[in-house]
């Protein structure tokens, strides 16, 4: 009975549906506040205390608005895709090495499942743009996939570096080992940098917001989405923001420990990464797609390879 309750708690409260959605909204608020402060503005102020309910108001408003399916679009795919992306990111959230559920779904290799589930929304963006049958959607979708080829390889290499260092492909094992060896962070600092840049590109945020560049192609893949479906896409994006940051926190920053300490540690480490990503969004301007591909393959990919070599040398010399 107790076990059932624990599983239900994990599925629906934390790290399940409600807790994650709440954290996603909180992350959106933090992001907007940091962005505004860097621009000498104050950001949302009057929706709840210091505007903390602003993301909630946005989502409720989108949920209550008219839901348009354009006549030209492929109806089924257009309506189904936002849910697919949402489901993928929620499943990824359950794989995080935190909470009761981890005793059941943690297995060697779940790091890869996590990365695939986080990669799925990009494919969904592409398909969503394609099936909305609008020029901007198609352009945005094609750009999303082109961008995927640029950042995915350096990002994967960077994220797999801790796996190599700790000798495990299991998220909970990696975080446990890197928590007991704090110097590991220094050893893969380069990989951490590449992973942060890769996550920013995965989330399609400035300076890598090429697929949804609103000054060029309106809204990219989401151009034709409105109402409920846009709300789900918006939530998916914010969820990915949290889950991606939490993944990086668990493999690079030593995870979340065990017991009651998990939740505060989760908040601190995840929001530290969210803070870095928000600062990057505020400080940079958008790159062109060719600049991004050049940057990823000329600098990011060699950097991750170098990091890989460094780890192998450490392993061979039996320092780590």
């Amino acid at each position: 009975m107790n076990e059932t309750l624990q599983v239900l708690f994990s599925l629906f409260i934390f790290p399940g549906l409600f807790g994650m959605v709440a954290l996603a909204l909180l992350a959106d608020w933090v992001d907007r506040k940091v962005y505004a402060r860097v621009q000498q503005r104050v950001g949302p102020m009057y929706t709840g205390k210091a505007g903390i309910l602003q993301p909630l108001a946005d989502v409720i408003k989108l949920l209550s608005k008219e839901d348009i399916t354009p006549g030209e679009s492929s109806k089924f795919m257009f309506n189904f895709l936002p849910l697919a992306a949402f489901a993928a990111v929620m499943s990824a959230a359950l794989l995080l090495p935190i909470g009761f559920l981890n005793a059941y779904n943690s297995f060697p290799g779940d790091l890869l499942i996590m990365l695939y589930l986080l990669g799925l929304p990009t494919i969904v963006y592409f398909l969503a743009g394609w099936h909305s049958h609008s020029y901007f959607g198609i352009f945005g979708g094609v750009r999303a996939v082109t961008q995927l080829f640029a950042y995915e390889v350096p990002f994967l290499l960077a994220v797999l570096t801790p796996a190599l260092l700790t000798g495990s492909w299991q998220l909970s094992e990696i975080s446990r080992l890197s928590a007991s060896h704090p110097l590991y962070l220094l050893a893969h600092l380069l990989a951490f940098t590449v992973a942060i840049l890769g996550l920013q590109a995965k989330l399609e945020r400035v300076p890598f917001d090429i697929p949804e560049a609103e000054t060029e192609i309106v809204g990219g893949p989401t151009t034709e989405y409105s109402g409920r479906k846009l709300a789900v896409l918006h939530l998916t994006h914010e969820l990915m923001f949290v889950v991606g940051s939490a993944t990086l926190a668990s493999i690079f920053l030593g995870g979340f420990g065990s017991g009651l300490w998990q939740f505060p540690l989760f908040l601190v480490k995840t929001f530290a990464i969210i803070f870095i990503l928000s600062l990057m969004r505020a400080a940079a301007a958008r790159m062109r797609i060719d600049q991004l591909i050049e940057f990823s393959w000329k600098y990011l990919a060699p950097m991750s390879c170098l990091q890989f070599l460094f780890i192998i040398v450490l392993k061979v010399l039996e320092i780590a």
Partner: protein, 146 residues
């Protein structure tokens, strides 16, 4: 008449999160600069949850500036139709209200309301950002009272 809890939550969310689409239907760019001005640190309309959006499908408010000419009338109508309900249209600037100095020209309609229904008019050539914020605040109060 007392509104139900759900209706009140919906109204709260809607009024606190107005996403704006800006459309120039033939303005001289004066009003457009002032609209962008409202987003800058000095006025910062994001305080009220107002955000500038690029796609009409995402927007709640259409800020249209400029006298409507024959070419832009059909496009203005189309953009208005693409916005999901409930939607608000604000005519920004004297030209958008009545046609302004261009009224009576051979190619000019007389203002935004000749193409789409308008909820609020802001005069000025160009409008002041304070006037835009004031109009939005009055409009919010009007929606609340209704």
């Amino acid at each position: 008449m007392k509104k139900s809890v759900i209706a009140r939550i919906k109204e709260w969310a809607r009024l606190n999160s107005l996403w704006v689409l800006h459309f120039n239907s033939g303005a001289c760019n004066g009003c457009d600069i002032e609209i962008l001005d409202a987003l800058t640190p000095r006025y910062d309309v994001e305080r009220f949850g107002i955000r500038l959006k690029a796609s009409p499908r995402h927007a709640d408010v259409l800020l249209a500036s400029g006298p409507v000419n024959h070419q832009s009338a059909a496009r203005l109508k189309r953009i208005y139709d693409q916005m999901p309900d409930p939607k608000i249209v604000i005519a920004v600037g004297t030209c958008a209200c009545s046609g302004g100095v261009f009224r009576g020209c051979y190619n000019i309609h007389s203002g935004i309301d000749s193409a789409v229904p308008v909820d609020a008019y802001i005069t000025g050539c160009p409008v002041k950002p304070e006037a835009i914020i004031d109009a939005v605040a009055k409009l919010i109060n009007k929606v609340k009272a209704a």
